[in-house]
């Protein structure tokens, strides 16, 4: 069997749990979480990055070797997302960009149309583009054609911890789209992260469920283990779910009795 690798933007990722960075009680938690959970990709809001300061600059807390995935949180349209992405690159945040275009401050649901526009522009500019989206097959196909490196459908609205409410739509995307599908937002428990991985998601991104936990370091570790377990289960091929018990004497056995 070939080695199970997740390669995005030419980089082989060591861990399929991605984390956020904006909701912790202190940035100092980030390196501890990364050390304990082995997380490899961290997303950071460009709007929060402040290279001019030491203690409150989140970039100073991301250990070397980690992949920084700046996000365009705060962008209300494609144009703002593009500007934030370019700014991130100019600030030395690397080549990855998670596109977040949100024009609904209540549910924080992404604007797929504007997200697609921003993806088209930024992919052409050589960014490794990971768009955050409402799960929808046609948009996902268009994002693929636009040059996205992965797509990040939401499991439930950001911060809700409601789990995989969009499961059926995500399943379809996993089946149909030839890109890594990373479930972003809404995952509240490690068991739900495992569920996403069992479905065949390439990775999951978790923020609130870790940041709001009593012990964020412990919770990140739990998520990391769940993601690994879910992945292993997916690769191992879980048994089919059956609605009824399997009768030990087959109901149609009489048809073959004389053979």
């Amino acid at each position: 069997m070939t080695e199970d690798k997740l390669i995005i933007g030419g980089i082989s990722l060591k861990n399929r749990l991605f984390i956020g960075s904006g909701k912790y009680s202190s940035n100092a938690l980030i390196p501890q979480i990364i050390e304990k959970s082995g997380v490899h990709v961290v997303t950071v809001a460009v709007r929060r990055v402040d290279p001019g300061v030491k203690e409150e600059n989140v970039l100073n807390y991301i250990p070397e070797g980690c992949i920084l995935m700046p996000n365009t949180s705060g962008a209300r349209n494609a144009e703002e997302a593009v500007r934030l992405a370019r700014l991130a690159r100019a600030m030395g945040c690397g080549n990855w960009i998670k596109i977040e275009v949100i024009s609904d401050t209540k549910y924080l649901l992404p604007d797929n149309q504007e997200t697609l526009k921003a993806t088209e522009i930024l992919a052409k500019e050589g960014f490794t583009v990971l768009p955050y989206m409402s799960p929808e097959l046609m948009t996902a196909r268009r994002l693929y054609n636009a040059g996205a490196a992965a797509v990040m459908p939401l499991g439930a609205p950001i911060g809700t911890n409601k789990g995989l409410k969009t499961k059926e739509l995500i399943k379809i995307m996993i089946d149909e789209i030839d890109l890594p599908i990373i479930v972003d937002a809404g995952i509240g428990k490690p068991s739900e992260a495992a569920e996403a991985m069992e479905l065949g998601a390439a990775a999951v991104l978790v923020n609130t469920a870790i940041a709001a936990a009593g012990n964020p370091v412990g919770m990140a570790e739990a998520f990391s283990l769940a993601v690994m377990a879910g992945r292993k289960a997916f690769l191992s091929g879980a048994g089919a779910v059956r609605e009824y018990a399997e009768a030990s004497s087959p109901l149609t056995g009489f048809l073959y009795a004389k053979e």
Binding site: R47, D50, E56, R76, L87, T105, K106, A212
Partner: protein, 368 residues
């Protein structure tokens, strides 16, 4: 003319509203608290006398919601008073044109010194304020100030006299991303008594200001009622109704509410309807429960210990190291709009937040 909040508020008779608020019972409160998403009618229940007996339950839910939406982080900002010239006669305000105080406005050089002094303390988000005087602080002056402040800060909000939509559009393009405008008092009769002369007398023009800001391209718009001027239960309700209306109509704008509570000031206007700490907390919790995603700002009008205790219950933004005198950061002169109750420095507020398990966020927006 397009429908505005003015048309909405007309539908609410204050006496009927007050009866509605007074008649809510504990069961109504429990029902409201058990809902996942609340309606504006539930807000009336949450500011009722019955709900004042359920503050702990309200606080638990509000804390949970705040943590989910905003995490363990509080954004810090500071005000810069550009000018205190004012032509209004607001009977409760320290800048009232009839009050004898030293009036001045910052030159751009002076603003630059203020900005430098403030930015050295770590502040990145500022609120630029003026009194209402188109003569002393014309839009052109505000525009120049926004441009100058943009050299030092990453987010600039305005708390200036009500402007037209096109002015807001121009100021947003210049670099201002936020607008704060308090109606002060939504009760029209009391509004007339409190604002006897000056342009601010125009209730409707002020009421529609936040909306003009939303349409003009401001990213965030803050509203509020000055607590102490009128019956707080109905005033809180009208503020919530206003916020609810704005969030529905302008989903791409971050709406926030402030809870300015009247403090002593020059001219010493007696507080008409005092709001005690318990009532203040009840209002704040009710806002958080109705509108889980909106910003809630608490200024240095409030005492240090009280502010500290509010963290986690709904507050998302706090001012720090505030000076309300024009030119007060680089040198002390002039009279302030109100007396600051929390005189701690930016560094002290920063340390306090860390001690309470919260991250002080200095930069939460980037001018693009």
């Amino acid at each position: 003319m397009l429908m505005s909040f003015y048309d909405v508020i007309q539908e609410y008779d204050k006496f009927a509203l007050n009866r509605e608020i007074q008649k809510a019972d504990t069961e109504d409160v429990k029902r409201a608290l058990s809902k996942e998403s609340l309606l504006i009618q539930d807000f009336a229940v949450l500011v009722s006398p019955a709900a004042s007996l359920c503050l702990e339950e309200m606080a638990k839910k509000a804390q949970h919601i705040t943590l989910q939406h905003f995490g363990k982080a509080v954004v810090l900002y500071a005000p810069i008073y550009l000018a205190n010239y004012c032509v209004n006669h607001c009977v409760y305000c320290g800048f009232n044109s009839k009050n004898i105080l030293s009036r001045r406005k910052l030159s751009l050089d002076e603003l630059s010194r203020e900005a430098e002094s403030l930015s050295q303390r770590g502040i990145k988000h500022i609120l630029l304020l003026t009194g209402e005087s188109r003569k002393h602080s014309p839009v052109r002056y505000i525009e120049n100030c926004v441009r100058e402040a943009g050299k030092y800060f990453s987010s600039i909000s305005l708390e200036v006299y009500p402007l037209e939509e096109d002015d807001y559009r121009m100021l947003a393009e210049t670099g201002a991303d936020g607008l704060t405008v308090y109606q002060e008092i939504y009760d029209r009769d009391v509004y007339a008594v409190m604002h006897p002369a000056g342009p601010k007398k125009n209730y409707r023009f002020r009421l529609d200001t936040p909306e003009r800001g939303c349409r003009g391209g401001m990213r965030s718009v803050g509203i509020g009622a000055l607590l102490g001027l009128g019956d707080w239960r109905t005033e809180a309700f009208y503020t919530a109704l206003h916020a609810y209306y704005l969030t529905k109509k302008y989903p791409d704008v971050e709406i926030s509410v402030s809870l300015p509570r009247m403090r002593p000031h020059a001219g010493s206007f007696p507080v008409q309807c005092p709001v005690n700490d318990k009532e203040f907390v009840q209002i704040m919790l009710a806002f958080r429960l109705l509108l889980p995603h909106i910003g809630i700002t608490i200024s240095t009008r409030e005492r240090a210990d009280f502010r500290d205790n509010l963290i986690g219950l709904g507050v998302t933004r706090m001012s720090a190291g505030s000076v309300t005198e024009v030119g007060g950061y680089s040198n002390k002169r002039g009279d302030g709009q109100f007396e600051v109750s929390d005189e701690r420095s930016v560094e002290e507020i920063r340390q306090m937040l860390y001690r309470k398990g919260y991250q002080p966020v200095f930069k939460d927006w980037q001018y693009i």
